[in-house]
Symmetry: C2
Subunit: 133 residues, 2 copies
């Protein structure tokens, strides 16, 4: 078994291959992790959430977004970790129209409206692949 650091390009390509990631935010001094559907707009991660939900209250905060694909049978896989800041999408947001269109294409698993759009602007991206050799 080996661990191999992934390049930025590899990280981006792997993130584009998935549709569910995990958004971690800090609430009351504790990290909390939420599975979310997402879209990518340039290097931004876009998620939708219910305006009443815990996640919707987060803004201008340091977060991380993590995506992985792990195979229990072969014990191989990869994990990509993006650290960044999260903002609520509003009318003044940089790339706002493009982000709003992408958000419409995210199909949330839960049937609620999820009108709140959160945008994660990456500060750093790292990734590791765990291989069989």
């Amino acid at each position: 078994m080996t661990v191999h650091e992934l390049s930025g390009d590899e990280c981006r390509s792997l993130i584009e291959s998935q549709e569910v990631g995990r958004l971690a935010v800090i609430i009351g001094g504790y990290p909390e992790v939420f599975p979310v559907n997402y879209a990518i707009v340039r290097d931004r991660i876009v998620v939708r959430t219910d305006p009443g939900a815990k996640l919707a209250r987060a803004q201008f905060e340091r977060v991380c977004f993590q995506v992985d694909d792990l195979d229990r049978a072969t014990r191989t896989g990869w994990s990509v970790l993006i650290k960044g800041v999260v903002h609520r999408l509003d009318d003044t947001h940089h790339l706002g129209d493009e982000i709003a269109r992408a958000a419409q294409r995210i199909a949330p698993w839960v049937g609620s409206e999820r009108r709140q759009v959160l945008v994660i602007t990456p500060v750093s991206t790292t990734g590791r692949r765990i291989g069989a050799e």
Copy 2:
């Protein structure tokens, strides 16, 4: 699609059904998420890590441990979130012998020694199931 809050018993039983979870810690003001193998000792979550790794430097800190099982095809699944405090296992640790034995049974995916054992003592457990009806 519905969201259903899980009871504590349901959360425990679901966590016992998996072997990979995600440990989120706060480093430099940002949450970071690491996939980990784990064991359960009473209500404690036990993970092994490399003493040189980033995770091994975390101690006496607020963390969360999250486990999920999400099916992209049917868009159903569940997620359990445990908030708690993490300690390094040492000779004085409560339930230390029992935890050390459990840690030996965790088979890490990566071949490094992973001699450092971290113990997460839960403060709160919550879970949600996303169903098709």
